[in-house]
Amino acid sequence: MSITSRTSLLGFLLALSALGAPSAQATSSPLPATLASGQSQPSIEARLSRITAALREQEGQRQPGDQESMLISAGFVNGRGGGWVNTPHYGGFSNHPYYGTGHFVNGGGGFVNARPGGGFVNARPGAVGFRNW
């Protein structure tokens, strides 16, 4: 599956998951804690953790830099943990997905004071005047 700037995160993850699933299954699928304690269904948290571990393992099979460049080209995340997901200090929805702002929008720009060419920002060192979500 080719990754382009118009591919969704889902598309990226599917491409990633197609790399080497048997290996991931072998090493990153411990029995979920809730199953070990006798519950019939693993918890959502346990399932998420297994998926994350499997994706990490798939990433590890890539050449160094491959996945980072793919993500950047696809515009998903600013390093792991960025993008649509809020930063840990806050922990809520980032970019107000239910009100149509934020990550749906490509391009556009804000008013930021004192950034050359970038609008009107109040002179915060390192502030970014334009965001490409």
Binding site: L10, L55, N122
Partner: protein, 381 residues
């Protein structure tokens, strides 16, 4: 900002007018025939209140919403842009970026509107429910005419001007039988960034077509089919609901709150300067249990002054208690963050509660499908 208990404020919803040229039958707004308008001069105290408050965050989206924003004259947005620049100049010590955005039915967009949106750098979201046979069942004029053709003309103008936009599509019961038609319609029309909003029991919309028993199974089947179609297109169809859960899994991040249940992350201001916080759906409604949710007026009250009022204290106490109950009781809390107050109120008449139909549709069923399909793809199932 870490010493400030609320915020940081990142979304400022401003109602330029309650009026809408459409009369969609599922709309939550009770006052959409009201032709009142926000005077541009009222933007000055609105922005001053924000920039003077301890809640101001580094990035603020000013979303023109809660009515049809393009029912205002184009000159309003030129004036608004000038006033935003002037407000930032009045507060040179506040490190902040302000971006304008709006959500529109697109029916009046033409070349002049595209030029206005571009020169004011306003980001655009369009409300469109898919193909005409679905859209026109609900999104009609006051004389009962469908609005799909006009919305598509507006979208054509946006596309010819290379103005990026996303679409929010409301799903009603009849949508659930047509995943193929919906996805095909969007892709055939070059629309790849889509969010599904479920029809909700909220505000003026007292009954949702999704209230009937048995529909959750149909919704799950709908989502599974959309996933299959998404895979078949190589992920070209970017569905907000799938991508949010995928991003949480990929980034290994969990939610602790949402913007809709955390005070002063969102500030909502109506066309008369009255303001509220939490989700914007709570701005214009009146309820038996809480009265209205207006906390003050920008002409008279600072944002921080209202946190001492009994009204805010009760709202915040109930909201926090409800989120805490969600955290303790719900397996999906990490992908939800405790839901939205408006859904909780309209379904249970209190914020101090847990599961809603809205969260079953918006979070639980989506999560079930995404995890199931990711496990299948990763051969973890």
């Amino acid at each position: 900002m870490s010493s400030v208990p609320f915020g940081p404020l990142s979304l400022l919803v401003v109602q330029p007018t309650p009026f809408c040229n459409l009369d969609c039958d599922y709309c939550y707004l009770p006052d959409r025939g009201n032709r009142g308008r926000l005077g541009p001069e009222l933007l000055d105290p609105i922005l001053d209140r924000v920039l003077e408050s301890p809640y101001a965050g580094p990035e603020l989206t000013l979303l023109w919403h809660a009515g049809e924003p393009l029912a205002m004259p184009r000159a309003f947005y030129d004036e608004a842009t000038r006033r935003i620049e002037a407000a930032l100049a009045r507060h040179p010590d506040v490190p902040i970026t302000i971006t304008q955005s709006l959500q529109t039915n697109a029916t009046v967009i033409d070349q002049a509107w595209c030029e206005c949106l571009q020169r004011n750098r306003i980001q655009v979201g369009v409300s469109l429910d898919g193909p005409a046979f679905l859209h026109d069942r609900h999104r009609r004029t006051r004389t009962g005419l469908g609005s799909h053709a006009a919305a598509m003309r507006g979208i054509g103008w946006l596309q010819r001007h290379d103005i990026p936009f996303h679409v929010i599509a409301v799903l009603t019961e009849e949508s659930l039988d047509h995943p193929d038609e919906i996805v095909s319609f969007f892709l055939e029309n070059g629309i790849t960034e889509v969010g599904f909003n479920m029809e909700e029991t909220e505000g003026a919309n007292r009954v949702s077509s999704l209230d009937r028993p048995g529909l959750e199974g149909r919704y799950r089947a709908f989502l599974e089919r959309v996933w299959q179609l998404n895979v078949a297109t190589g992920g070209r169809f970017q569905l907000r609901e799938f991508d949010l859960i995928c991003s949480l899994a990929y980034a290994d991040v969990r939610l602790e709150r949402t913007d809709m249940n955390n005070p002063f992350v969102i500030l909502n201001v109506d066309h008369r300067g009255n303001f509220s916080t939490f989700d914007p759906e709570m701005l214009a409604v009146k309820t038996e249990e809480y009265g209205d949710f207006v906390l003050g007026n920008v002409l008279e009250n600072s944002l921080e002054s209202v946190v001492h009022t009994e009204k805010f204290q009760r709202m915040q106490r109930d909201m926090a208690a409800g989120v805490e109950r969600c955290r303790r009781e719900c397996d999906y809390f990490g992908v939800c963050g405790g839901g939205a107050g408006s859904n909780k109120y309209w379904e249970h008449r209190t914020f101090d509660c847990t599961e809603t139909q809205a969260c079953r549709y918006r979070i639980k069923l989506v999560t079930d499908v995404v995890l199931q399909e990711m496990e299948r793809s990763l051969k973890l199932a």
